[in-house]
């Protein structure tokens, strides 16, 4: 039987459909049941729709004010929770005057009992006007519905419309109260639709080139986007709009002018790529930049689309020269290590194969909080026979998987990390990363390095007091800390030097 009722789920047998062990001869549509209501009290790791829209989609936009229409909690929790840095540069060449504005401020209406009884519209209006006064430099104001607002029925769209005229600045309302949908995923969807309907097609870019792309579903976690941006620009491709890492409000408004959309996080942002294709005829491709293999393949695909094949090859070649030897080191160290990937969604299929093929690891379990069918199909395609695939695993299942599948390392979120450690298994943050970026060639090295340093952290061989310790001290391999220096450094320096001298040669 491919579907598995875990021991800890005996009392909630409905979980059986959500846990699937890959069996190669199974029909294609055998995947975990997903995107359905959460089992109450199961200790799920899921979040709410508000987290999906503000925490994922819009929170990365650098020049807008975020006003959360909520009792104080949602506003507090929306503050600085995700690591998406921004640069002050705006598309018109100016600089936004407040650095990291998106990480620095969150605003809220602090709804009280009387607002719940009489409605919160007045307070919302007033708050948005005050927000506008407080930060006149902001280029738009985004405001968010929450559970309370969804239940008392404030018409936020009407307020947004009125105030857009009154203030002469775009006000956009996002209607994703926390309770809507089974998980964060619903909030992603609402975020996509709202931005598309309100913004896309409303402005024209200052200039265009034949190589303009939208990079969609890339949120610049720990600087991921900047890594990819560099590769694309080195190839001669222009990032006309980002959705939404290091992105400005205006960029969303002219997404319809791109020649091609690249969809990176395919769970949270394929929606807008679809809508733009349908309405404006801009085609899109799904891309994957995790690992050297996927990154190379996808840069080649993009290169081919624009007739920039050689430029793509050059980027790949240069990068591989730098990261190749380092990855070789990590491959030796990580060979055979068992890994359990529990991501929000797509990273479970982005990383499963690269960890195996490029680093010699074994993906023994994959899981996701809010992935849908298409994602689970990919997840299933990219794991080996016998790998367990879980939808929305809860903490008891998490414990059982650790016990039964004995991973050497877990990639998961901060809510799971410390539980894993208590059970004696190292865990790396995969939503917001440890020492990212993790994307692209150098990002994959960062990931490998973090995995290495967590697995080989000497502490794991000293967990318990020993009455009679081994004479030579701890048995496990002592970390080779020198991996960044000496040989490797010389190696990459000589490559850099080669590059420089080559460039000089070209100029001459």
């Amino acid at each position: 039987m491919p579907y598995k009722l875990l021991e800890v789920d005996k009392k909630i047998p409905e979980r059986k459909d959500h846990v699937y062990v890959k069996h190669c001869s199974d029909p294609e549509d055998h995947i975990p049941n997903c995107n359905t209501k959460t089992v109450p009290g199961s200790m799920s790791e899921r979040g709410c729709a508000f987290a999906g829209v503000k925490g994922v989609i819009t929170g990365a936009i650098k020049d807008v004010i975020h006003v959360v229409h909520s009792p104080i909690g949602c506003t507090s929790y929306g503050y600085g929770t995700k690591r998406y840095p921004t640069s002050p540069e705006l598309p018109n060449g100016e600089k936004f005057p407040i650095e990291n504005f998106n990480l620095k401020y969150i605003l809220g209406t602090d709804l009280q009992e009387s607002d719940v009884v009489f409605g919160g519209i007045k307070k919302l209006r007033q708050s948005i006007i005050e927000a506008h006064k407080e930060f006149p430099e902001a280029n738009a104001i985004y405001t968010y519905s929450t559970c309370t607002v969804g239940l008392i029925g404030d018409d936020m769209d009407a307020v947004a419309k009125e105030l857009t005229e009154e203030l002469g600045k775009k006000v956009v309302a996002f209607n994703a109260p926390g309770f809507c949908g089974p998980s964060q995923s619903k909030g992603h969807h609402v975020g996509n639709l709202t931005l598309f309907e309100n913004l896309v097609g409303t402005k024209e870019p200052p200039s265009t080139t034949p190589y303009d792309v939208n990079l969609i579903g890339e949120y610049n976690i720990d600087g991921d986007l900047w890594v990819i941006k560099k590769y694309l620009e080195d190839m001669g491709i222009n990032l006309l709009s980002k959705f939404t890492g290091d992105c400005s409000h205006d960029e969303i408004c002219w997404m319809h002018r791109a020649k091609l959309s690249l969809v990176r996080c395919q769970r949270s942002a394929t929606y807008i790529a679809d809508l733009i294709e349908e309405k404006y005829g801009v085609p899109y491709i799904k891309v994957d930049f995790f690992s050297t293999k996927y990154c190379s393949e996808n840069l080649r695909t993009i290169g081919k689309y624009f007739g920039l094949e050689e430029a793509a090859e050059k980027v790949i070649e240069d990068q591989m020269k730098i990261v190749g030897p380092e990855l070789e080191f990590y491959r030796k160290k990580l060979q055979g290590k068992r890994v359990f990937i529990f991501s929000g969604g797509p990273k479970s299929y982005h990383l499963s194969k690269p960890l195996e093929e490029e680093l010699g690891m074994e993906t023994v379990a994959v899981a996701s909080q809010f992935e849908h069918k298409d994602g689970y199909k990919k997840m299933k395609d990219r794991v080996n026979e016998g790998t367990i695939i879980l939808d929305d695993p809860n903490s008891l299942e998490f414990e059982e998987i650790i016990e039964e599948y004995k991973p050497d390392l877990i990639l998961a979120g901060v809510k799971e990390k410390y539980l894993a450690h208590k059970l004696g298994v190292p865990c790396i943050l995969i939503h917001s990363y440890e020492n990212g970026p993790y994307m692209g060639f150098e990002g994959f090295v960062n990931l490998a390095k973090d995995m290495y340093s967590y697995i080989y952290n000497p502490v794991w061989s000293m967990l318990e007091f020993e009455d009679e310790p081994a004479e030579d001290g701890i048995e496990e391999v002592v970390m080779e800390i020198g991996l960044n220096s000496d040989e490797l450094k010389e190696n990459s320096e000589s490559i850099e030097n080669d590059k420089e001298s080559k460039n000089e040669g070209e100029v001459a």
């Binding site: 009392k11 508000f50 309770f179």
Partner: protein, 459 residues
Amino acid sequence: MSCVNIIEKERNVVINPLKTCQPFGAMFAVTGINKGFPIVHGSQGCSAFVRYGFARHFREPSEIAVTSLHEDAAVFGGRKNLVAGIENLALRFKPDIIGVITTCSSEIIGDDVYGFTETARENIKKKMGEDSHEIEVIPISTPSFVETHYKGYDTAIKSIVNHLARKDEPNEKVNIIPGIVNPGDIRELKHLMNMMKLEGIFLTDISDPFDAPLRPSKVTKPFYPKGGVSVDEIKDSANSLGTVSICKYAGSGALSLEKEHKVPAAVDSPPVGLQNTDKFIRNLKKFTGNEIPNEILDERGILVDSMADNAARYLFGRKVIIYGDPDITTGIARFVGELGMEPTMVCTGVKSPSFAQDMEKIAKETGSEIDVMVGQDLRAVEVYLKENPVDLMIGNSDGRLISLDQGIPLIRVGFPVYDRVGYQRQPIVGYRGGLYLMDLITNTILEKYYEPTHWKLQQ
């Protein structure tokens, strides 16, 4: 001239809050019970965000269940979710106690949480038989749109005590309501009480649950951290010699024990600094009649020694602003005054008249003029600092960017601290906590305001 100058909030919108909603405080309180499990009756974000916050600050697992309200519950009510949620939690995790915490959504929908909890209790009894008697299920009403996290904490402690405390043989213990503090603080209080030859009942005790040892050989299935106050201890709190709440904003549990079970209550500011710790020790003595041993007075003496040696030289007249939870800021403001520094502005996100009164007292003691912001936010602090520069900021990590922008060093205290490690383990209460905080302040001043090569640092 000594006075306080109340600075009112000038806008309606909150920018970078210094408070959060009620359920947070209740989740914190229930986590401090041995095998205690909070279940939040609301949307998933209500638990996920708080778990995230706890994990980030304490670097510990934080297991908080949720009834996962979706649209259908918003329309038809959350009965099914709550009853099934409590049952699933009880059957699978077998906790000793479940705190059922309401939110904005469940309160607006109007769910009869008390009735639903009763149904769940009956169902559990049917399914678990005898085992079910050991599971206490306690409803805690914490609508998010009323007051703040402190109210939620207060309500939770009161609900737990009211539900469990039973009059029996008198014990020789003192109940402590610690407020929203760190594991290091609770351990320091225990240390003081140990020296007084006194056992405490902590209502509740997050010291071990939020700072648990990593010892795989001791791991239980399901995972519960060691420690926390036990249900039996809470029951026994009705028989204690007294209750000291070291949190002025969470005294109702203490008052309720006084009213219902004649356990005398003392509700005071937290023992931060010399005088507040003295007061705490006096309270313990008052309830127990136990002598104050020399070890405690020696600890006090070490703090006094350090104040005598260093405060006048390095700290005197330095201007400080303090922001955060009302009880901790009150305590720190008083201590900073004891060190000869000037608490020029104190800000809390909680609206409370007694906060301003406390500050008035401190202003009189220190002979200084204190700007007091009540019910304000971090943006107000930022704007204030632009006009009124100071030497030092004391508050949580959320002020780190203000500190960076304005070049004012930040002493991290309170919740949350996520950009440094170990702060949750260091006490700021008691004489040793005072010493730690004072050293931290002094060294920060030395680092920032003294030239490293200057002869002033030579001896």
